[in-house]
């Protein structure tokens, strides 16, 4: 009898004198004896034999397909929603650039450190108060690119009131605009957002002036 046959017998609980003698002599078989013993006991455990319902696989496939559709739909909806906004932003940027060229020094500057979710990240925000709104240059380092299907979003907040200043996907020097002033909305923070229908801030804050 070879090792495979002895191990099969052991797992089946059908050892005889010959196989027992082999187990004593063979180091390789002794080394796996514990594994086979665990396996033998597990085969008597009713939970090992409990079968999931036949339809569970279909439910898993449907669940993920549904999430995918919702994610794509959400992205499409956001894209549609963002198109006119992007056009408007371009106009604001043009006006802002003109204003910025006239006033090159920022009106304010604030550090926005990384939170526990992004401890290596650092950033500063420079702001210009213009007639068209607040122009901000956010300089970010050490923040990983947003995962696929997600974006980073800058928020200005006054207590429970949050106003988005736009989205971006990676660290660098990013220009963003907001229709509110920092004097009224002093907190600046960045969240990681899934591209879905929910337009409120997620709980995933990565940068925060109050961190």
């Amino acid at each position: 009898m070879n090792c495979d046959e002895i191990r099969a017998m052991y797992l089946a609980g059908e050892t005889d004198d010959l196989s027992r003698a082999h187990l004593v002599e063979c180091a390789s078989c002794r080394a796996v004896q514990g594994d086979l013993e665990i396996g033998r006991r597990a085969l008597m455990d009713p939970t090992i034999w409990e079968e999931p319902p036949a339809e569970l696989g279909d439910q898993v496939v449907a669940l993920i397909s549904g999430q995918l559709t919702s994610r794509k739909g959400g992205a499409d909806r956001r894209e549609r929603w963002m198109r006119p906004l992007a056009a408007a932003a371009l106009v604001v940027v043009a006006v802002g650039l003109y204003a910025a060229l006239r006033t090159p020094s920022p009106d304010w500057e604030v550090a926005m450190p990384g939170t526990d979710l992004a401890p290596a990240a650092t950033s500063t925000v420079k702001g210009w108060n213009t007639d068209s709104g607040t122009r901000m240059i956010v300089a970010i380092e050490g923040l990983a690119p947003a995962p696929s299907g997600s974006v980073y979003e800058l928020w200005l907040s006054q207590g429970p009131l949050h106003v988005s200043a736009g989205t971006f996907t990676a660290a660098g020097e990013i220009e963003l605009w907001s229709g509110v002033s920092r004097a009224d909305f002093p907190r600046l923070w960045v969240t990681l957002e899934l591209l879905d229908e929910d337009e409120s801030p997620s709980g995933s804050t990565v940068l925060d002036t109050e961190a």
């Binding site: 597990a42 008597m44 999931p52």
Partner: protein, 180 residues
């Protein structure tokens, strides 16, 4: 352990390809269910755990290297999901809402990796051999009783039993190594 899932399938799974989701479920769904059912002792909670496990795996798949064996990764997700469900149920059952978070898990959470490995190995044994293992180990039948129950010759029971045990012994031979 045993037959895995090809990197190509894992890449398609990441994209949400229905065929790849089904393939991953067919390979590991029962093992996930076993871990959840063994820990939670409730079929409907176990089904919820399976759905959540695959959903979380899909969401995290972008960060998983498709060239690696997905079994330990899926098991870790399954266990975390199961622990979360266990704690959720304990909170719901608690009469006192101010009762602190359950820190200690029940004994049913012990040995879940071994249960995963054994179930996973069983899923790689052909159905006709698996029913012999079920009859002899779980139901405790002799070869003769198994032959009568399955209406097949005793010789067939013996040969299938030998093949099943040999196959299973090979699949389980590194169980503790994988645990470590």
């Amino acid at each position: 352990m045993g037959e895995g899932i090809s990197p190509k399938v894992l890449r398609r799974f990441r994209e949400g390809d229905a065929g790849a989701v089904r393939e991953l479920y067919d390979r590991y769904g029962r093992a996930v269910f076993t871990v959840a059912y063994r820990s939670l002792g409730d079929r409907s909670l176990a089904e919820e755990a399976v759905q959540q496990t695959f959903l979380q795996a899909w969401r995290a798949a972008g960060r998983f290297d498709p060239d690696r064996d997905p079994a330990p990764w899926l098991y870790a997700i399954a266990r975390r999901v199961t622990v979360d469900l266990y704690r959720r149920e304990r909170r719901h059952q608690s009469a006192d809402p101010s009762e602190p978070e359950v820190a200690v898990l029940s004994q049913s959470f012990e040995g879940t990796w071994e249960a995963w490995e054994v179930r996973s190995a069983l899923d790689q044994v052909p159905a006709e051999e698996r029913e012999i293992l079920h009859a002899t180990h779980y139901l405790g039948l002799t070869h003769e009783e198994t032959a009568e129950r399955l209406r097949i010759p005793v010789g067939t029971v013996k040969s299938r039993s030998y093949r099943a045990h040999r196959r299973l012994a090979g699949l389980l031979s590194h169980l503790r190594e994988a645990t470590a």
